[in-house]
């Protein structure tokens, strides 16, 4: 079943066309990777789906409902959680406080002026942190964590809204290689286990080819190829324009890893 349908999105910043007629679809439980060189328009596409940017033309349809141009808070309430290319968290709060805040918002209690916020949804928040392996750090200030751990907490924050769709813009940027693999595996498990669709961008080809069900290749705002990892890998234009030889090697490595 189609969870997210993106139809003919266009976005230009002044003279720069950041997205041109971007079209794709994503089903529940599927992991779709968008790859492309820097400045290809990946973040722009994410932001148009997440509501941070309004597309010039085109439609974003989530589970049959048109959400084009809705603000992020509305998109969130429709069941979309996201992480940002540069992690966005509440720096004055503890790790668990960040997740509790997301739960408070999810349950519509943000205008409650009486309850004790520190006690609210603490157990649920700890459970979410356990899912991303961060329960041990729950009461530390989030500013003290290593960047890789912040990214995990961000995933827990995104999951607090019980999303149907996760948007993850470069989830492993700035992480050590081993952390990367672990986070992508975690994301894949969560997505497949919960039937959550995941749209992600990634520079690490190993991660992409190991976990993506399908790949979308974006170059200068245009989708130049789309398909399964095998199809994309075999696509001569992709090899020429983007993957080059290093990408090809990564693909081979990933296949070897996947098939022993």
């Amino acid at each position: 079943m189609t969870l997210l349908a993106v139809e003919g999105l266009n976005k230009a910043f002044g003279g720069v066309v950041a997205a041109r007629d971007v079209t794709f679809a994503l089903s529940a439980g599927e992991m779709l990777a968008i790859i492309g060189p820097n400045g290809a328009g990946k973040s722009t596409t994410f932001n148009m789906v997440g509501g941070q940017l309004r597309p010039d033309t085109g439609r974003v349809v989530l589970a049959g409902q048109d959400i084009t141009g809705q603000p992020p808070r509305q998109v969130c309430r429709m069941g979309v959680g996201r992480t940002f290319q540069v992690a966005q968290t509440f720096l004055s709060m503890s790790v668990v406080g960040n997740v509790q805040m997301a739960l408070i918002a999810h349950h519509g209690r943000t205008r409650d002026m009486v309850a004790d916020a520190a006690r609210l949804y603490r157990d649920d928040a700890l459970a979410l942190l356990a899912r991303v392996g961060m329960e041990g750090e729950a009461d530390r200030p989030i500013g003290e964590l290593a960047y890789g751990d912040v990214k995990r907490v961000e995933l827990a924050i995104a999951l607090a809204a019980a999303p149907r769709l996760l948007l993850m813009d470069e989830p492993t940027a700035g992480m050590a290689p081993r952390e990367r693999a672990a986070l992508m595996q975690l994301t894949a498990d969560i997505a497949r286990g919960g039937g959550i669709g995941v749209l992600f961008t990634e520079h690490d080809m190993d991660a992409v080819f190991a976990h993506a069900d399908r790949i979308l290749v974006l170059v200068r705002g245009e989708v130049i190829a789309e398909g399964t990892p095998e199809e994309v890998r075999a696509n001569p234009e992709v090899q020429r324009v983007y993957l080059g030889t290093s990408g090809h090697k990564a693909a081979l490595r990933a296949r070897r890893a996947a098939h022993g």
Binding site: G50, Q52, P71, P72, R73, C76, R77, G81, R82, F84, Q88, T89, F90, L91, S92, M93, S94, G97, Q100, M101, A102, I104, A105, H106, R109, T110, R111, D112, M113, V114, A115, D116, A117, A118, L120, P141, I157, A160, A161
Partner: protein, 615 residues
């Protein structure tokens, strides 16, 4: 209304616009390069006028020629430019990296110091200036007489605009100014001597303010109130035009000049309200002003960190809070009348400061006009008692409602902005409220205000009224503190830490900020109502900028990063003020210097020091 009259009215609007533009262009240039909104710009204007009324008559003694008149004007401008250089070297240089709130407060510290310095040097009496030789006559325009000097002013504004354009496009210095206004990093990367650029810009900006002041002397006397009245207008011009944009400032000055020239015919009393409406309309449609650029203002957060992790009271804190409350309740039993009065005021200001830090520290909403809601609460209560004939109890109920309603009205616009624009809009709203109370003499009593705001008979004694205040203020602080710890308070902190993340988890940031602004306005209104009855009178100083700055100084002194710091800051500030103000003629000078010292060496305040000691 005949054509001649309309033309003359429009011309006088243009003359005011010219004068306003010259001043505002300096403010906007300095902001563009340094990203500092310089409150002391109004002081430079005032100094320009004072120096001119000293120098020009002295030159005219030699020869009553236009050349010497304008030589004197230029000397004044250059002298003020040199003072601007001094300010850059001694103060601003240390401020470029600190949060905007601290920059605003520190430059306001300079305003306070200059005010006392001017009084010391030139005395309290206004000094009229000489008229300009050669431009003393009137000119006949369509059957109306129009002063030649005003015509001259009309020419001088565009002339300054043209000269600035040449400077910005034809000289290396000017091209660097434009580059810095557009992109700070680029200038740094080019290896330009930034220090020289900044110092030079301060010279230019201050000299323009000085020129504006010196050119005013044939029209208005030099007075020690010139600084704050002009700075508000200059703020409004730069905000409407777009911070950092000189052509924007010109456009805005012309618009405002015309609006005031014709507005005065329709609504003689409330031209300021029209100006404000224009500003609100512009900011809603174009939040960065007519010709402004978003990056210029949205560069830095207003605060790097506000209230950090909110923790419940430990045993030591509980003990201190209990002792403080007990002491406040014991004052009427043991203290003399004077101590009771001071203690009552401390409680009132503690509530006002707490409500301000609810916005600033907890919400990252830097309000520079919080006294507006305090004052409006006081006026609501005072007018209901004196003019409405109501007793104290319902009037005290009306005070927070009035504060809250006006905060809701103004806040609707305020929360659409952020950072420095937000701070300036809160200031502008406060000035509007001040102007209405000041000008609407029939209702508000104007400058003198209204006397006879006394409590009901049962609460008439100082002691009993102290308990009334204690009950209201302590309960309100406890309630507001509860909100800080509640989901609503946490949501405000979340939006302050990362607006983007807050939005992405489903929070409607703007609505929550608006509610917070309203709530804080209500609390400040209650404090204002309590204050009116403790003084027995109301007057416009209750809404004026200096009181807003006092509130900010209280939370700064107490420590913005902590929940209860505001209360400690209010107590310390008010006690110090009460002890030292009667002892010195230089209270403002001391206060200004203390604010600057706090910002530079003690930015975490008393509670910050306490937390450091506990840790």
């Amino acid at each position: 209304m005949d054509v001649g009259f309309i033309v003359v009215q429009s011309l006088s609007g243009l003359a005011s616009a010219s004068a306003l533009f010259i001043i505002a262009s300096g403010l906007t240039l300095v902001f563009g390069v340094t990203r500092i909104v310089n409150f002391a710009h109004g002081s430079f204007y005032m100094l320009g006028a004072y120096i001119a009324v000293t120098v020009v008559p002295w030159l005219l003694e030699i020869d009553r020629s236009p050349t010497l008149f304008f030589t004197g004007v230029l000397i004044s401008a250059i002298a003020v430019g040199v003072l601007g250089v001094l300010m850059e070297l001694l103060l601003l240089r240390r401020l470029y990296k600190v949060p905007e709130l601290f920059q605003l407060l520190a430059t306001f510290g300079v305003v306070l110091m200059v005010q006392d310095a001017v009084l010391k040097i030139w005395g309290p009496v206004d000094i009229p200036g000489p008229r300009a030789p050669g431009l003393r006559h009137g000119v006949e325009i369509l059957g109306q007489r129009f002063p030649a000097y005003e015509l001259f002013l009309i020419v001088i504004g565009p002339a300054v605009l043209g000269l600035l354009w040449l400077l910005m496009h034809r000289t290396r210095f000017g091209i660097l100014i434009r580059a810095a206004t557009r992109d700070r990093e680029m200038v740094g990367a080019l290896g330009v001597n930034q220090a020289m650029l900044f110092t030079g810009t301060l010279f230019l900006g201050a000299a323009l303010a000085g020129l504006g002041g010196a050119l005013q002397i044939p029209r208005v006397s030099a007075s020690s109130q010139m600084d704050l009245s002009i700075i508000t207008e200059a703020f409004v011009v730069t905000v409407i035009g777009g911070m950092g944009s000189v052509p924007g400032a010109f456009l805005a000055a012309v618009l405002i000049g015309q609006l005031q020239a014709f507005g005065v015919l329709v609504f003689p009393k409330i031209t300021l309200v029209l100006v404000f409406l224009l500003m609100a309309a512009v900011l809603v449609v174009k939040p960065w002003g007519l010709l402004g650029r978003p990056e210029a203002a949205a560069g830095r957060a207003a605060l790097p960190e506000g209230i950090l992790a909110v923790r419940g009271f430990g045993r030591v804190e509980k003990l201190i809070a209990g002792l403080a409350i007990a002491a406040m309740l014991a004052v009427p039993v043991f203290g003399d009348a004077y101590t009771v009065k001071v203690a009552t005021e401390v409680l009132i200001f503690a509530l006002a400061a707490f409500s301000l830090n609810f916005l600033v520290g907890n919400g990252g909403i830097v309000s520079f006009g919080h006294a507006a809601y305090f004052g409006l609460g006081a006026y609501a209560a005072g007018l209901l008692v004196t003019k409405g004939g109501l007793p104290m109890e319902p009037a005290l109920l009306a005070a927070p409602i009035a504060g809250g309603l006006f905060a809701a009205l103004f806040g609707f616009f305020v929360v659409r902005l952020s950072g420095i624009y937000l701070a300036m809009l809160t200031l502008a709203f406060a000035q509007i409220a001040y102007a209405v109370c000041f000008q609407w003499v029939e209702v508000t009593g104007g400058d003198n205000g209204v006397v006879g705001v006394w409590p009901s008979a049962w609460a008439a004694s100082r002691q009993v009224y102290h308990y009334v205040v204690a009950a209201c203020a302590i309960l309100a602080i406890i309630a507001l503190r509860r909100v800080v710890y509640a989901p609503f308070g946490a949501t405000l902190r979340a939006a302050r830490d990362s607006e983007q993340r807050a939005d992405a988890i489903g929070i409607d940031v703007r609505t929550h900020r608006w509610l917070a602004f309203t709530l804080a306005g209500g609390a400040a209104g209650l404090a204002g109502g309590l204050y009116a009855f403790s003084k027995g009178s109301i007057d416009p100083t209750l809404l004026a900028i200096p009181l807003s700055v006092d509130f900010l100084a209280m939370i700064l002194l107490g420590g913005i990063q902590t929940v209860m710091g505001a209360v400690a800051g209010a107590a310390a500030f008010h006690t110090i003020k009460d002890i030292f103000m009667p002892l010195t003629d230089f209270w403002r000078f001391l206060l200004g210097a203390s604010i600057i010292a706090l910002v530079l060496v003690f930015p975490r305040g008393l509670a910050g020091a306490f937390a450091g000691w506990r840790a």
